[in-house]
Symmetry: C2
C-alpha cells in the first residue's frame, strides 16, 4: 500500500476536530449544545439572493469564465467603488470562497520554503493553505492585554528574514475581532514598502464594524498598489457561506494574470453561487443596519456578561463576530472537552473553540478560547449562564 | 514590486488561451464561430435538477460538512452501487468539481518532486494541478494509429523511476475519447501492484460509452483496493458543469482522512451545487438513453465526414465526446489561428483545440486537433463543411 504524502501528513486538522465526537455524544444524551465555536451566522440570507435562486431559469448550468462572470465582476467593482475602493472588473478574479482566494494568492506569490508573517492568534486555515503551497506562516505575537492590537513595528521587523515574501492580515480579525486602525495599516505599509513584500489583506468581515468604527482597506494604502492583494468573500457579508464565492483583488496585473492560470486549471468558480453573489449586491442598506444592530447587541451582552464572571477577561472587539476570551482554567483544550463530556447545567452545555488552534507558537493561548457570537440573544444568554456555571465547578479552575 | 512565484510562472496557461482574442475578433467582425474546442455540452440539465434549484427554500445558505452533505454522500453511494461500484458514504468526499478531486488526490498522495505517469495525449489541466502540487507528470506515448489504446506494459514500465508515485488515467479519455477495456485495466492493475503505486482514475465521462461498450471502473480491480482513487464529477453526467460538484472516492482510509484535511481548510464544497447534484441522481434513465443516442449520431456523422476529407484521419472513439483528429496541415496551432484570423466560409468559421496542448513531449501532436462534438447535428454539419473548405485552401496544407 503506497504511503500518503508528507504534505498530507503535515496538513493541520481542524482545531475543533477532536471535540466533535464529544459534542455528538453530548447531543446523543439529549443535551442541548450551544455552538459558540463556529463562524456560521444564523442571520437570514437577504431576500434578493434567495429570490435569485428561485428565479433561476437557464436550461443548461454551464461553466462560467474562469475569472468569474463578467456581469458579476462589473457589479462587484461597483460595490467596491461605492465603499471607496477603486478597482475595475479586470482587477479581480471570482474564487471558490475566500479560501480559494487565499490559496491562489499564496501559490501565485510565494515560493515553497518562503515565509509569510502574520499577527498571532490567526485564522487557523492560513496554516492549511500555507501547507498546501509548501510555505511557512511565521507568527508575530499580539496580546489579549492589548486587545490584540497590531504588534509594534520592531517586533514585526524582527521576524523578517531573506525568505520573507509577505504579510497576511485579517481585518477585522478572525479570531480576535480586532479592527486595525488606519494608523496601524500605515505602519504595515511602511514595512511592506521598505522590504518589498506582498500584503495579503483578508477583509471578509469588512461590513462587521461596531460603535461607528470605520473600516480602512489595505487597497487604499498609497504607494504600495502593486504589493496589496485583497481577499474577499460574500459568505459573511450576506450570510451565504454555502455559496462558496470569494474574490482575489489586486492592482498588480502580474498577480491577476498568474492567479488566472490557477483559476483556468480548475475551470470556473461555482455558477449558482455567482448568480446569488451578483443578486446580493442589491441587498438594501436596511439589512446591514439591522445585522449591525443585532451583532452590537449580542457583543455588548456577551462582553459585559463575560467580564462579570470572576477571573474572565474579554476584550470589546470592534469588528467581526468573534472574541478571544481569557478564562480562569488550567488548559482551554481540556476545559472545552470537559464542557462537552462531563458538564451540564439545566441539561445544556456549550462548545467553544480552544484558542490554541489559532496560535502556532507552542503554549500560547493556553487559557484562551474563541467565542463566536452567532447565536440569537436568548440562546446567547443561556449559553453565557451555562458557561458561568461551568467555570464555578470546573476541576481545573485556576 | 515583489516578484510572483516560480510556481506561478510555471503554471501552464490554458491551451486555447492564445486563440481566444482571435475568436473574439472574428465574432466582432460578425462571423459565426463554431466552438469545437470546448467540453461544454449543449445538452439541457435534467429537469429534476433545475426543479431542485427553483424549490430551494432554506432561509440561510450555510456551510455544509467539509466532506459534503451526508444526505448527498449516501445517495451518491447508492448511485455507485447501482452501477456496480461498491462504496459507502464514508469512502468519499464531495469536492468542488472533479478539478478539486484531482488536486486533493495529488496533494494527499504525491510529494513535491515525485512523478505521476499518464498516457499522452492527456487532459491538459493535470499539468496545472501537478504544478500546483509541485509534482511532475511523466507522459507515456499513445498513438493515433492505435486509436490511442493503452501503451504496452513495457513502455509504461520504462517510465517508472524511484520517484514514481502513481499513474493517472482518464477513462473514457479526454482528449481522445478512447475507452479502456477491462483487459487494459488489468494491465494497469498488475503494474500498480508490482510497483506499489497509486492509480488515479478519472471517470467523469463514465456515462458516455457508445456502440453498447461497457465502462469498467478501476474501483472494481481486485487486489489493489487501497491503491485506487477514483475522481468523479457531475458536470458531464448531468450537463451541469457550472455547479462545480465532484467527488474523490477511495477504499483507502488514509487517503480519505488526509484529503479531508485539505477539504476542511477550504471549509465546504458548494452548497447549491450539492442540492442540484443530489436531485440529479433521480434523473430518469430515459434522459441518458436520449443523450447517448444524440452523441452517437453526432459522433458517427462527424467521424464519417472527417474521414471522407482527403488527408484527414479520425479514430472512432467509444467514449466521452471528443476525438483527436489528424489533419493534413503543417502545424495545428497555426491552422487553428488561421481559421479564426484569416478564413471564412459563408461568413462562418470553426474553433478547434490544437492537440499540442494535450502533449507534454515537444513536437508531439503537431498535426492533430481535439474536436468536441458538443454541437447540435445541424451546427455540426455546418462546422464540418466549413472545416473541409478550410482544409482545401489553407496555405500550410501538407
Amino acid at each position: 500500500m503506497p504511503s500518503i504524502s508528507e504534505k498530507g501528513r503535515a496538513m493541520p486538522a481542524s482545531p475543533i476536530r477532536k471535540l466533535v465526537p464529544y459534542a455528538e455524544e453530548a447531543k446523543r444524551k439529549g443535551r442541548k449544545v450551544y455552538h459558540l465555536n463556529i463562524g456560521q451566522p444564523d442571520i437570514p440570507t437577504p431576500d434578493v439572493a434567495l429570490k435569485a435562486i428561485r428565479n433561476f431559469n437557464l436550461r443548461v448550468i454551464e461553466y462560467s469564465h474562469s475569472a468569474g462572470n463578467e456581469s458579476y465582476r462589473r457589479k462587484l467593482a461597483e460595490y467596491y467603488q461605492k465603499i471607496g475602493i477603486r478597482v475595475d472588473h479586470t482587477e479581480m478574479l471570482i474564487t471558490t470562497g475566500g479560501s480559494e482566494a487565499v490559496l491562489f494568492a499564496l501559490m501565485s506569490c510565494v515560493n515553497p520554503g518562503e515565509e509569510v508573517i502574520t499577527p498571532e492568534p490567526f485564522y487557523a486555515n492560513y496554516n492549511g493553505f500555507a501547507t498546501s503551497a509548501g510555505i511557512k506562516v511565521v507568527p508575530v505575537a499580539s496580546y489579549i492585554e492589548d486587545d490584540f492590537a497590531l504588534p509594534p513595528i520592531t517586533e514585526i521587523e524582527k521576524k523578517i528574514t531573506p525568505e520573507t515574501k509577505g504579510i497576511i492580515i485579517c481585518n477585522p480579525n478572525n479570531p480576535t475581532g480586532y479592527l486595525y486602525s488606519k494608523e496601524e495599516l500605515l505602519v504595515l505599509r511602511d514595512i511592506v514598502k521598505r522590504h518589498d513584500l506582498f500584503l495579503f489583506s483578508d477583509e471578509v468581515y469588512r461590513e462587521f464594524c461596531y460603535d461607528g468604527a470605520e473600516h480602512y482597506s489595505a487597497m487604499n494604502l498609497e504607494g504600495i498598489e502593486n504589493n496589496v492583494i485583497m481577499l474577499d468573500s460574500v459568505s459573511k457579508r450576506y450570510s451565504e457561506c454555502g455559496v462558496r464565492i470569494g474574490a482575489l483583488i489586486s492592482k498588480n496585473r502580474d498577480v491577476i494574470s498568474t492567479a488566472l492560470k490557477f483559476a483556468q486549471a480548475r475551470l470556473s468558480p461555482p455558477g449558482l453561487g455567482q448568480v446569488v453573489g451578483e443578486a446580493s449586491i442589491d441587498t438594501p442598506q436596511e439589512y446591514f443596519k439591522e445585522v449591525n444592530r443585532e451583532y452590537t447587541e449580542r457583543r455588548n451582552y456577551m462582553v459585559d456578561t463575560l467580564n462579570n464572571i470572576p477571573g474572565v477577561y474579554c476584550p470589546k472587539p470592534k469588528g467581526a463576530f468573534y472574541t478571544v476570551v481569557k478564562l480562569p482554567v488550567d488548559d482551554a483544550d481540556k476545559f472545552a472537552q470537559w464542557l462537552l463530556e462531563s458538564f451540564e447545567y439545566k441539561n445544556q452545555t456549550v462548545m467553544v473553540a480552544p484558542a490554541s488552534g489559532f496560535y502556532s507558537t507552542p503554549g500560547s493561548g493556553k487559557n484562551e478560547v474563541r467565542i463566536a457570537y452567532v447565536l440569537k440573544i436568548d440562546d446567547l444568554k443561556n449559553a453565557m449562564e451555562t458557561l458561568a456555571e461551568a467555570l464555578k465547578v470546573y476541576p481545573g479552575r485556576k
